[in-house]
Symmetry: C2
Subunit: 126 residues, 2 copies
DNA sequence: TTAGGACTTGGAGTGGACTCCAGCGCAAAC
DNA sequence: GTTTGCGCTGGAGTCCACTCCAAGTCCTAA
């Protein structure tokens, strides 16, 4: 399920990977440079080839990023993943702390949405 | 209800206003400079004195800002408010468009929170 | 085989939203 | 009445997260 046959697994150019992941090509290269993505495999001539595994990881990164996690914290998470299974408890702690933050921002956002609705209703009543 | 007696209405220093509004003093001055806040009243020696009315407006700005509205769009909203009641229909349009955006980001955030929860559950199961 | 698009690099540049600073005047608490 | 601290200005600086660039190489479809 997670480990595809390398010989036949589809690989993606950076353009295709950008299309599929929702990041730009520049962002993908940037993320690789700062260590958010492991060294991406290359063709003999040096072009990047992303795998489905890379895409899955990028999906996780997208989720963390879009929920407001700073790049630096994502980098710490990426480092933990690289270190192996013994870091799973710490990864859990990190994700739980993040979930708490996301929940708080959901609550805050919902309250503010209601405030905006109230404002609209007020303007309509004028 | 909205128009207090100016002679006795409480006024706030910029520090107090910062504490109450949730913006920093620097941000308040910055917002005034770029026209997000009307010219704030001053003491004879030039110090700012914010009123409850200012604070109410700052509450609206905080709400818009915290829900992701760019400063430039808030400035357009502020300009509409300054122009008077005939701009109310346009203000409604602006706020409704913003509410749609906020709703979308609420949905997105909730979905991503669930993804994170799933990730945590997965790590726990390992 | 060749045209045109996709990809490479390191480094510089951008945009948004603040945030800080120096050097000063004013306030208010003891 | 002085010290401690708050506030003033204009302009420069910062931070984050990209984003763009030039000059070159590579890939693919006709």
């Amino acid at each position: 399920m997670f480990v595809a046959d390398n010989a036949t697994a589809p690989v993606y150019t950076i353009g295709e990977c950008a299309r599929r992941s929702g990041f730009t090509m520049d962002t993908l290269r940037y993320y690789e440079r700062i260590g958010l993505i492991d060294e991406v495999r290359r063709t003999a001539t040096g072009q990047r080839r992303f795998t489905d595994g890379d895409l899955e990881w990028l999906g996780t990164l997208k989720c963390l990023r879009d929920t407001g996690m700073p790049v630096e914290q994502m980098a710490r998470f990426a480092a933990l993943v690289r270190e192996g299974d013994q870091t799973i408890p710490e990864r859990i702690r990190l994700l739980e702390a993040h979930r708490v933050a996301v929940d708080a921002s959901l609550d805050d956002l919902a309250a503010k949405r209601d405030y905006i609705s109230g404002k609209i209703a007020y303007y309509r009543s004028v």
